[in-house]
């Protein structure tokens, strides 16, 4: 527990990813097994003790101090694990300088898992008496769940790759196959056994991602070398059907089956498909807003399934049964995909609703630019995939590209500024921008988006100087500035939103140009912006 708690301390206070990675991979190499496996699971959120309740921790804290002192302390500190870790009296028998023997991470995890609910309180109290502040904090965080030390699953796997000098793609590939404390993972990483395999289980396969298009690609563009498809505004999804069932995974490998019961019904067909999850029906595709009614829900009523239907528009096939197709060129995978999607429909009437992503034909690059601008508003742009590309996890160079519609533009006024993080921590780099609307007392500015990219370092310096010299109000870390600077903001889409005061929500707003020349009165108003909302949304 001592080393793990030191790792957590180092992680929580390192603002930078590279430093976090260095701490993590050092620890993964050096910590003994299975401690490192359990710690890794704790960090990635793959560990939970549902029978350890926060209430038990509160009771313990009240008993060692007093209910009044605990309440006052908790109120001041704000975090339960931290409050209790700090408040716990240092045991005179154990001043915290020597690591206690029985506080080994794996032993603590085993005891927490094996102890029935009634025994948790004395177990925790016993550990707390023998631990130092950082160990107590780590223990409580592990036991009650939710580390919040700024480590994502991806970062933990990258650290594994660094620590054992492997390709991150390989780690990603086997990650869905393994579980804590990852004996088979470390056995393989340290060369004792072969790589873990799926063996008939419905597991996630890491996805292949696209790059934004490269300016140079226009030169010598041969349409026949490419498979060109629409880029739909839905959610990337992977459908896996195997011996043990059908599952649906998000782009990051989260199992989202529970949100879409109609897509994970029993399937005769076995294999792995890659596609876009869309709202509506193949005949009439719904908006991203409709899809959002269905995303991130743990339970879905039949009413919701009826009101907001969903389907999968398939664009790739990774496995057919146990056969791995990922090394075949895309053109061959496409042939398989067409055959198999038809087979699924004809073999089984109640199969999940699927259709094929259409392939487009163009004469030249210029016509691509034309068709994407004229397309349905549900379409974000076009995808260009090399016809000979294998399916490679991650974002490999030179295979897949996305060409988005030209962004829309709006002139907005800077209302608030906040300091950035890391290298930008001395600069006011996060801006809230507003548009005009008619208020009760005449025209007023209402916030419509936040933007923190798209400006040069020189412009950032100028903006920062402006903010410091023109602050009219402070709200904690936020400064309200004089309504003077107009920014031309580029954005991808605009939707109606009940959550925002302005009634609109922008997708991916960023600075396009700072209009030092333009007076704030000439910035756009909300009514004008609403023209960018696709018709079907209204």
């Amino acid at each position: 527990m001592r080393r793990f708690s030191e790792l957590l301390e180092a992680l929580i206070f390192s603002p930078r990813r590279t430093v976090k990675l260095a701490h993590l991979s050092g620890w993964l190499r050096e910590a003994p097994h299975p401690d490192r496996g359990w710690g890794l699971a704790g960090l990635t959120g793959d560990l939970s003790f549902s029978h350890v309740k926060a209430g038990v921790v509160r009771e313990l804290a009240s008993e060692v101090s007093s209910p009044e002192l605990f309440a006052l302390s908790y109120d001041f500190v704000g975090d339960l694990a931290e409050t209790v870790a700090l408040l716990w009296p240092a045991s005179p028998a154990h001043d915290g300088t020597e690591a206690a023997e029985d506080l080994r991470l794996s032993a603590v995890i085993a005891s927490l898992a094996d102890t029935p609910r009634a025994g948790i309180k004395p177990l925790l109290a016993g550990y707390m008496d023998r631990a130092n502040v950082a160990e107590r904090w780590a223990l409580l965080k592990l036991a009650t769940g939710g580390m919040r030390v700024g480590v994502s699953g991806r970062m933990a796997r990258t650290a594994l790759a660094h620590a054992f000098d492997r390709d991150i793609a390989e780690i990603e590939e086997i990650w869905p196959l393994i579980s804590p404390p990852y004996d088979d993972l470390f056995d393989w990483l340290e060369g004792r056994t072969k790589r873990p395999e799926a063996e008939g289980r419905a597991v996630f396969r890491p996805m292949m991602l696209a790059h934004p298009i490269d300016e140079g690609m226009q030169e010598g563009f041969v349409p026949d070398d490419w498979q060109i498809e629409w880029k739909w505004d839905g959610a990337r999804i992977q459908l896996v059907s195997a011996e043990d069932g059908v599952r649906l995974f998000s782009r990051t490998g989260d199992d989202v089956s529970a949100s879409f019961p109609e897509l994970v019904t029993e399937m005769k067909w076995k294999g792995v498909l890659d596609g876009e999850l869309l709202a509506g029906t193949p005949e009439e595709v719904g908006s991203f807003n409709d899809l959002q009614q269905r995303l991130n829900r743990k339970r879905v009523t039949s009413r919701m399934q009826k009101d907001f239907p969903v389907f999968i528009r398939a664009y790739d096939i990774l496995f057919l049964g146990d056969k791995d197709l990922r090394n075949l060129p895309l053109s061959q995978r496409r042939t398989w995909l067409e055959t198999e999607v038809t087979r699924i429909e004809t073999d089984q009437k109640d199969a999940p609703k699927l259709d094929l992503s259409a392939c487009l034909t163009v004469d030249n690059f210029a016509s691509l630019q034309v068709i994407k601008e004229q397309a349905d508003p549900r379409i974000e742009g076009v995808m260009l995939k090399k016809a000979d590309s294998p399916y490679i996890a991650g974002r490999p160079k030179g295979h897949w590209f996305k060409l988005k519609r030209n962004p829309k533009h709006a002139d907005l006024v800077i209302l608030y500024a906040q300091r950035g993080h890391g290298k930008r921590s001395s600069f006011y780099s996060d801006y809230t921008l507003g548009a005009w609307r008619d208020g009760e007392d005449g025209p007023e500015l209402v916030p419509v988006c936040k933007a923190y990219s798209g400006f040069s370092d020189t412009e950032l310096r100028q903006l920062d100087k402006f903010v410091r010299a023109h602050t009219i109000n402070r709200f904690g870390p936020v400064r309200e500035v004089e309504h003077k600077i107009v920014v031309e903001v580029a954005f991808d889409q605009l939707h109606n939103s009940k959550r925002h005061k302005s009634g609109i929500a922008m997708r991916f707003p960023r600075f396009h140009a700072i209009r030092w020349d333009k007076p704030a009165e000439e910035a756009d108003n909300v009514a004008y912006l609403k023209r960018f909302i696709p018709d079907k949304d209204v």
Partner: protein
């Protein structure tokens, strides 16, 4: 107790016609220490230790009061029928507990104080009394300050891991900054330490009073807003307010350290963008507050500012009569 009152200027000793750490301008001010919220300029007469008077002169100029009356630790002075004395409080250079004796009652206004060792000031002295007026800045059981030497060693260990990175330590300009420097010197760090301009005069003053700070250099930059090569790998000390400003751009990729008792709370440290929380406080922690009250053994405890609810609760649990004075205007940002 009819001879002590709280009025608009704070704690007033009626038979002496004097106030302790007055918050507004008064005729006679008894001042515990030089932090700006306790020592304000513009009183007619200031009675304080010679060190505190010197600190006030450094900060406000020589004309900060008409009459300046030095009162050393252990000396006494008579104001009307009241005897006034000074005892060290261990907070910063010159900080004092003010001892007030009137009609067989002894009252002590401890000001801000701490019990952990500090090479830059005299150690807190236990003086038994009837009424003990204490602060409660860290008056919650979550605050147990670690050993300052161990904290400095922890910092130097991290410094050795990143020898090329500048270490920027945010420390309050009066007291904390000099204590950090003195602790670094005591731990064997002999390289020049670079200081922000706001620290220069106070560091000079500490050195005049015999506090060894070693070689100090101004953390200047020839090229405004651009990193300075000289500061790479060095330790730089600046007031906390300078850490996220234009000033700090003279350092490329510094390790941000903040020296304060508040750093014990991770969330607070994280909110401030601190990479290395140096838990170093000039105030008594929870255990020291309770231990001090026990040692002084007063008939009654009055709590001036801080987390008074918890401290009063703990006193009452121990059978000690305690009440809050709720003096508003003392600032916790100095920690």
């Amino acid at each position: 107790m009819d001879w002590v009152k709280i009025d608009r200027a704070g704690l007033s000793i009626l038979p002496a016609a004097a106030h302790i750490d007055p918050l507004a301008k008064v005729q006679v001010a008894l001042i515990t220490h030089g932090h700006a919220d306790h020592a304000r300029p513009g009183h007619h007469q200031v009675i304080a230790t010679p060190e505190t008077l010197a600190i006030m002169a450094t900060r406000y100029g020589d004309d900060f009061a008409e009459i300046k009356t030095p009162l050393r630790y252990g000396e006494k002075l008579k104001l009307g029928d009241v005897h006034v004395g000074m005892a060290p409080s261990g907070h910063i250079l010159g900080s004092a507990q003010i001892i007030v004796e009137y009609q067989n009652t002894r009252l002590i206004a401890a000001g801000d104080y701490k019990r952990k060792s500090d090479p830059t000031c005299a150690a807190f002295e236990i003086v038994p009394c009837d009424i003990f007026i204490t602060e409660a800045t860290f008056g919650l059981p979550v605050f147990r300050h670690p050993d300052p030497k161990a904290e400095i060693e922890r910092l130097l260990k991290v410094k050795s891991l990143f020898p090329e990175r500048s270490i920027l330590i945010g420390a309050y300009a009066l007291g904390k900054a000099q204590r950090v420097i003195a602790l670094l010197r005591a731990a064997g760090y002999n390289a020049p330490i670079y200081i922000h301009g706001a620290l220069q005069n106070l560091c000079n003053l500490y050195q005049e009073y015999g506090v060894e700070l070693g070689e100090l250099r101004p953390a200047t930059s020839t090229n405004r807003g651009k990193p300075s090569q000289e500061l790479e790998g060095a330790i730089i000390i600046a007031p906390p307010s300078a850490m996220n400003t234009v000033w700090a751009r003279r350092l490329s990729d510094p390790l941000n350290v903040f020296a304060s008792g508040w750093m014990q709370v991770r969330q607070r440290a994280k909110q401030r963008g601190v990479e290395f929380p140096l838990i170093l406080s000039d105030h008594a922690d929870w255990d020291d507050l309770l231990a001090t009250i026990e040692a002084v053994n007063p008939g009654e405890v009055w709590v001036t500012h801080g987390r008074e609810d918890a401290l009063i609760h703990a006193c009452q649990q121990r059978g000690i009569s305690a009440r809050a004075l709720s003096l508003i205007g003392y600032d916790e940002a100095m920690e």
